[in-house]
Each structure stands twice: as structure tokens, then as C-alpha cells.
């Protein structure tokens, strides 16, 4: 083969490779992304019923309940406007606490309860997952309920130090 042909073959292979990789990557991405919804959006039936998504907000005070036996725990997640009950079986992250932000990943059951496969919590006192902060700000802007409280929490975002969420 001449040098030019060889170069063409190599360039052609590279383009085909990149194209195939990109197509596969995008296809795989479709089934692996999970969207974020706030309790208000869930109650308004905007969230998909048959697909994994993430739900986030504040854990309502006094709603965390462990089953008497086993490891199932239920709690309410709120954006100060609407509330969704979450059920999770397993160990909660260290920083999961009532009155604090949390994000759960799972599916919405027919009974309206969100069955979480994974619960993420913030990793220091001042940190709030950006999605949760937005959720609270939105609820505040709409002037729904307890807006002042939501604003206080939302304002905390942007000032965290070492922070984050940890996958279980």
C-alpha cells in the first residue's frame, strides 16, 4: 500500500471507531441517566411511573420510622410545598438526619410511596445538594408555604466547606 492509502485507512478506521463509540455511548447513556424531581413535581405526576429517578428535598421532622424488625425505614421528603413518603431497606448514610437535605434514587410505587434503592445525604452541616437547594428556592419563589424557612435553608448553599454526598 502507498503511504497515502495507508493514511486513509488509518483515518477511516479512526473515524469509524469514534463514530461507533459515540453511538454506543449515547445509547447506553439513555438507559443510565436518572432525572431529578421535586416532591411538588412528583405530586403533579410529572415523574415517570416506570423509570428510576431521583427525588430530593428536606427530610421532614419526626417522620423517620424504622420497622420493628429488619432494616426497612420510612421517612417523608418535602420541598415545603408537597411531601412524598420514601421507603428504603438498608443502612442510611452517616449524615442522614431529620430536617436536613437528602436525595433518594429509586422508583415510584403504585401506592404513591417512593421505593428508594439508594439514599444520599449531604456530607457536612452546611452543604446542600444543588438540586435540593433549587427545589427549595422554587418552592419559595412560588410563595407556597413556610417560605421563610425554605429560604433560610436554600441560602446555605454556596457556603459549604469539604462536602458532598456519598453513594452507599
Amino acid at each position: 500500500m502507498k503511504a497515502r492509502q495507508k493514511r486513509l485507512v488509518l483515518v477511516g478506521l479512526a473515524i469509524v471507531g469514534v463514530g461507533v463509540a459515540a453511538a454506543l455511548a449515547l445509547k447506553a447513556l439513555q438507559s443510565n441517566i436518572s432525572y431529578f424531581f421535586s416532591p411538588t413535581q412528583v405530586q403533579a405526576k410529572e415523574a415517570p411511573a416506570d423509570h428510576v429517578f431521583r427525588l430530593g428535598g428536606l427530610v421532614s421532622e419526626g417522620t423517620v420510622k424504622r420497622a420493628d424488625d429488619g432494616l426497612t425505614v420510612t421517612f417523608d421528603v418535602t420541598d415545603m410545598a408537597e411531601t412524598v413518603r420514601v421507603s428504603y431497606t438498608g443502612i442510611l448514610p452517616d449524615l442522614f438526619k431529620e430536617g436536613q437535605g437528602a436525595v433518594a434514587r429509586g422508583r415510584l410505587g403504585a401506592d404513591g410511596v417512593f421505593y428508594a434503592e439508594e439514599v444520599l445525604a449531604k456530607h457536612d452541616e452546611e452543604y446542600m445538594p444543588p438540586e435540593v437547594a433549587d427545589t427549595l428556592k422554587t418552592a419559595h419563589a412560588k410563595g407556597m408555604t413556610e417560605a421563610a424557612d425554605a429560604a433560610r435553608v436554600a441560602e446555605q448553599t454556596g457556603y459549604g466547606s469539604a462536602a458532598g454526598t456519598v453513594a452507599q
Binding site: M1, A28, L29, F36, S161, V166
Partner: protein, 661 residues
């Protein structure tokens, strides 16, 4: 007074950086020797002032000077002395200071170890280092001054994040930063060569050891981070595809590609512009990593402070660096391209495959990391990309990488006969296919296609490398040749060999732990016994236990294999006195072939029951062992005498094209 001294030293360092980035470069254009000769002393001066600033901050930490805001935020009088040192880089401002100190170290190292480089080249390299330093020093001084005072002075500091109070994490950031910042040297060499308009084999030979050293640090840093996440976060994973992990992994992928591409440029004079592009990419990805970590645009395990002005500054810096260097590349690269020709079956081709795949992987990680930002900016909703996506991408592409990796070392440069390769490699091929078949069908042990693929690929790597070693020794006259090689100056082959074996070890570890590892969440009462993979875990309840700056509930687990007691584990649930933040300290029984791992969740009920997580992690240590092997391979390659003596033989040119103009 001392913190002000540190602040002042930083400002002086910035002043020197300004001089450093202009004078030697200007001198290299109009051939003024005294101006160019200022480059080395300037690099040393830069390091001196940065070291003074660093020492001042360290002094503030060791003396608990809470009048300095950063110290008050990161430290505490109860903090053990060793963590007062590592607390220095526990937060944003201090880690930035560590970053610039390392930049100074690399600059001084370039000045010290490049006596034989032509003067115009070295002055340009150091000038580019100076420009990078300007960016980071401005960033430190304008947005994140670690010496800022606090008034009124708090009587007690806020304490270091308990997660960071750990020996692994004390060394992890310095290693990682040495890697990140180290790529600035490869970047500076590339930019200096572009400015000079001369990219030749000598340039590649100068860049290679620097790139390899940076890569070694980055490899160790990433492995340490993974190890730390494994035992300290308490949830037994070794890689989470967290944005911050990705931020360190992207430069690693680009840096690995760069090392291989530099080999081709040095030996064969080919891939020149591609090599330059990779050098620019590796450093840009390091900067992007910094941006992702510092700006808080992405949710992550260890996102730092989210101050929008900081994010904006780094983004602007990123745009200038990437935009500027790519513009320079577009302008100069056509003048420097060209080089050795090669056939389709040649080592160059296999290294090209390696480079394309590594670049593709780096792009995929970049895409997956930024996808949430892209989606949000486009108004498609808030998404997160799950780790299965990243896993799928790697499982899809890396087999090809590994196949090429097996053939490459046995292939000749420029041209090779397919028949010769087939004769050399048919035995490894048949044997690896055999392993693949055996492990996939599960005839000998429970397995599946993924296990077969993983074990088959590692068999392929090990056997092909044994073949290439045998070939080399045959040409060198047996084992005597090996000793001669190691004693003399042909160590780089063995470095490559060891690092590639490291990859095989990694594949075994990752395959086995992902397919045969187990994780159980359960509720245990004192006296309960649970059996996992032939090991019995007996829970003896949890008792209060006090540490120097924390209180803990300490569980006791006795582990039996058969009737024999093999270990007693004490996982803890800690709460630190300075803050209400609880922490899980896992109990681990480590082993070469398996880890047994227990962590406490939370107390449940009133009878002393605990939510407990028990892991069986076979071969998990092999993952970090692989990191050690790769780093050792890198060290062996760098110690190759060729890099020292060969430089002496390089005739000293009067400078690049522009220097003459």
C-alpha cells in the same frame, strides 16, 4: 506578624513569576544570553518564596493561631499534631498553596536537572512555567488568601473534617497534586517547542522522564484515593465514578496516552503534533479537574467550597490556557508535523490504537462527568449519570486496548511481518481463549462471560509479555542480558513490562471483586452469627469507646473459619467532639486473596441491635497492588540511564527558528 510575612512572600512570588514569564522568553527571541540565563535563578527564587509562604502557614497551624481564618476553619487544639500538618491542605486555600508550592518545586527541578538542554529551550520552558504560576498565584491572592485574619479571634478552631483525619488522606492530596502539576512540565516543554517551532526527537527525549514522573505521582495519588475511599468512607467501594475521581482519572488517561506517544516521537519522529496535543490535553484536563473540584458545579464526595467568584476565575484561566495553547498549536503545528513513516503492521500502529482508545476513554469520562451540566444548561432537566454507564463504556473499549497492549511490545518498529507475530503469539492466544472458555462456562469454578473476559484478557497480557521478555533475552544472551540491562541503562523496557503486568493484576482484581464479592445489610443482635463465603461473623455487641477527639460506639465481631477463630474486628461509629458529624470506621481483616469488611450502620431497637453491613471482598488488594506495580514500572523507566547520558550527546543548537529571527 508571621502570617503577614507569608502573605508578603506570596506577593513577591507573584512578582517573580511575572519577571520569569517575560524576561527569559524575550531573551530567547533576540538571543540575549544574560536574559535567558535569568531563567534558572528565577525558578529557584520562585520556589524559595513559595516555601516561605508555606512554612508561615504551617507555623500558624502548629501554634494553633486561630486569628488566621483558614486555621480556625480547618484546625482545633485537640487535633493530633500530625493532622495539624495535613490540615494545611484539608481545605481550599491551603490546598491551593500546596499546589503552587509544587509548581515551584517542579520549576526548580526543571532548572536543576536540565543542565544539558539548550539555553533558549530551557528559558522558554521556565517562562511558560512562570505563566502558569501567575494564574495560580493571582487566583490564590485574589480569591482565596490563606493568610486572611479573623477578628474577633475565636478561642477554638472548627476542626478538620473527620473524614480527612486519616494517614491515607494526609498523603493523597500531595501525591495527586504532584501528578497534576507535574503535567505542567510536559505542557511547558510542548509550548516551548511550539514557540521555538522545533519538535524533534531530542524534545521528546527531554519531555519523557518528566511526563513519566508526573504520571507516577498521579498513579500513586489515584490508588491512594481509591484505597482511602475503600476503608474510610465505610462503604467498601474502591471506585465511585465521582466527578472528583473522574477529575483525576482524565489527566491520567491523557498522560498515559502521552507517555506512549512520546515514545513514538522519540524513537521514530512520528506523531509529533498528536504528542503536543496530548501534552496540552493532559494539563488542561488537570486544570479542568481543579475547576470541577473548586467551583462546586457538580455534586461530589469531596467538593470544596462553592464560591462563584472562584469558579469564574478558574473558568477564565482555563479558557485562556486551553484557548491560548490551542491557538498556538493551530498556528505552529503545521510547521512541525511530518515524520517517520510506518506500515500497518508495526509497533507504531499498535501504539496508535492505544492512543486512540485512551483518548476515547478520556473523552467518554469527560462527557459522562459534564453531561449533567450539559443537560441542565440545555434545559433538558436535572440528571445524574449512573456508574453503570461508565462501567459499560470501559468494559466495551478496554478489551481492544488490552489486545493491542499484548501485541505491541513484541512488534517491531516501522514494519513487521504478520507471520512472525502469529508464530510468536499463537500460544498465548490459544491459552487465553482457553481460560476465557473455562471461566465463562463455569466448568472449573462458578463463572460467567464477564469473569471469562477479565481473566482471559489478563492471561493474554501476562503470556504475551512473557513472550516479549523471552525474545528480548534471546537477543541479549539469556539471563546475563537481563542483569546487564538492569545494571546498565536499558531499564525502560522492564519498566514498561512491569507496568503492563500491573494492568493484568488490576484486571484480575477488578474482575474477581466485582463478580464474586458480596455485600449484606442485616440487623444483628448481640450473639448473632452470620455466615458469608465460608466465614462466620459473630457479633458481640457494641460498647462506648473514647478517642482523643471523638466518642465512639465500638462493635466487636469475632470471625471464624470452620472452628478456627481468625480475627476479631472492631468497627466504630464515631462522633467528633467538635461537631455533630458522625463517622463510620470500618473493621477490616485484610488478606492477599480476600478482605473481610464490617461496618456499623446505626443502632436499631432497644435491645442493643445494630444495622450492620458485612462485605466479602476477594482479590480487592490486587487493585492497589496494580497501582504499586505501575508506579514501580514508571520508576524503573525513569531511572533508565539513557535519559542522563544521551542528553550530553545532544549537540546544542543555537535555538529554534524564532530565536534566529
Amino acid at each position: 506578624m508571621i502570617p503577614e510575612l507569608g502573605h508578603f512572600a506570596l506577593i513577591l512570588a507573584l512578582g517573580l513569576a511575572l519577571v520569569q514569564s517575560v524576561v527569559p522568553l524575550w531573551g530567547s527571541f533576540n538571543g540575549r544570553r544574560p536574559w535567558m540565563e535569568m531563567a534558572r535563578p528565577l525558578a529557584w527564587g520562585q520556589l524559595t518564596f513559595l516555601a516561605v509562604a508555606f512554612a508561615c502557614l504551617l507555623q500558624a497551624f502548629l501554634t494553633d493561631d486561630f486569628s488566621v481564618r483558614y486555621v480556625a476553619e480547618q484546625s482545633n487544639t485537640l487535633l493530633p499534631q500530625i493532622y495539624k500538618v495535613s490540615a494545611l491542605w484539608g481545605g481550599h486555600e491551603g490546598s491551593l498553596l500546596l499546589w503552587v508550592l509544587m509548581l515551584g518545586l517542579w520549576g526548580a527541578a526543571v532548572a536543576a536537572f536540565s543542565r544539558n538542554l539548550p539555553l533558549p529551550m530551557i528559558s522558554r520552558v521556565i517562562a511558560v512555567q512562570g505563566m502558569v504560576a501567575i494564574g495560580f498565584l493571582l487566583f490564590t491572592l485574589l480569591t482565596s488568601n490563606p493568610f486572611e485574619r479573623l477578628f474577633p479571634i475565636p478561642p477554638e478552631g472548627r476542626d478538620l473534617n473527620p473524614l480527612l483525619q486519616d494517614p491515607g488522606l494526609a498523603v493523597h492530596p500531595p501525591m495527586l497534586y504532584m501528578g497534576y502539576v507535574g503535567f505542567s512540565v510536559a505542557f511547558s516543554f510542548a509550548i516551548a517547542a511550539l514557540i521555538g517551532g522545533k519538535l524533534d526527537a531530542a524534545w521528546a527525549r527531554w519531555s519523557r522522564p518528566w511526563t513519566t514522573v508526573a504520571w507516577i505521582f498521579l498513579t500513586i495519588g489515584i490508588a491512594l484515593g481509591s484505597w482511602w475511599a475503600y476503608y474510610e468512607l465505610g462503604w467498601g467501594g474502591w471506585w465511585f465514578w465521582d466527578p472528583v475521581e473522574n477529575a483525576s482519572f482524565m489527566p491520567w488517561l491523557a498522560g498515559t496516552a502521552l507517555m506512549h506517544s512520546l515514545a513514538v516521537t522519540e524513537k521514530r519522529g512520528a506523531f509529533k503534533s498528536w504528542t503536543v496535543l496530548l501534552a496540552i490535553s493532559a494539563f488542561s484536563l488537570s486544570l479542568l479537574g481543579t475547576f470541577l473540584v473548586r467551583s462546586g458545579v457538580l455534586t461530589s464526595v469531596h467538593a470544596f467550597a462553592t464560591d462563584p467568584s472562584r469558579g469564574t476565575f478558574i473558568l477564565a484561566f482555563l479558557v485562556i490556557v486551553i484557548g491560548g495553547s490551542l491557538a498556538l498549536y493551530a498556528w505552529r503545528a503545521p510547521a512541525v508535523s511530518g515524520g517517520g513513516r510506518f506500515d500497518l503492521v508495526s509497533r507504531e500502529s499498535f501504539l496508535l490504537v492505544n492512543n486512540l482508545l485512551l483518548a476515547a476513554l478520556a473523552l467518554l469520562v469527560l462527557f459522562g462527568t459534564l453531561a449533567p451540566l450539559i443537560y441542565e444548561a440545555a434545559g433538558w432537566g436535572k440528571i445524574s449519570v449512573g456508574f453503570p454507564w461508565f462501567n459499560t463504556m470501559f468494559i466495551a473499549l478496554s478489551p481492544f486496548l488490552v489486545l493491542a497492549m499484548g501485541v505491541g511490545p513484541s512488534t517491531r518498529w516501522k514494519h513487521d511481518e504478520p507471520g512472525r507475530l502469529a508464530r510468536l503469539l499463537w500460544v498465548p492466544l490459544i491459552l487465553s481463549l482457553g481460560v476465557l472458555a473455562l471461566a465463562s462456562t463455569g466448568l472449573m469454578f462458578p463463572g460467567n462471560l464477564w469473569v471469562g473476559l477479565g481473566l482471559g484478557l489478563s492471561t493474554w497480557l501476562v503470556l504475551t509479555h512473557l513472550v516479549s521478555l523471552k525474545e528480548r533475552l534471546r537477543n541479549k544472551g539469556g539471563l546475563g542480558g537481563l542483569i546487564g540491562d538492569l545494571r546498565n541503562r536499558s531499564r525502560s523496557f522492564y519498566g514498561m513490562w512491569l507496568a503492563h503486568i500491573g494492568v493484568a493484576v488490576f484486571i484480575v482484581g477488578a474482575t474477581v471483586v466485582s463478580n464474586f464479592g458480596s455485600e449484606t445489610d442485616l440487623r444483628m443482635s448481640p450473639g448473632d452469627v452470620h455466615e458469608v463465603a465460608g466465614y462466620r461473623f459473630q457479633f458481640n455487641g457494641a460498647q462506648p469507646h473514647d478517642g482523643p477527639n471523638f466518642r465512639a460506639q465500638r462493635g466487636e465481631f469475632v470471625i471464624y473459619k470452620g472452628e478456627r477463630q481468625i480475627d476479631v474486628l472492631h468497627p466504630e461509629k464515631r462522633s467528633y467532639l467538635s461537631g455533630g458529624m458522625p463517622m463510620t470506621e470500618a473493621g477490616i481483616d485484610p488478606g492477599f486473596l480476600r478482605d473481610l469488611y464490617v461496618s456499623l450502620g446505626e443502632p436499631v431497637g432497644t435491645q442493643g441491635d445494630w444495622a450492620v453491613r458485612i462485605y466479602y471482598k476477594p482479590y480487592v488488594r490486587w487493585i492497589w497492588l496494580a497501582g504499586i506495580l505501575m508506579a514501580l514500572g514508571g520508576l524503573l523507566a525513569v531511572s533508565d540511564g539513557r535519559y542522563r547520558t544521551a542528553r550530553k550527546r545532544v549537540p546544542v543548537p543555537a535555538g529554534g527558528g524564532l530565536a534566529r529571527a
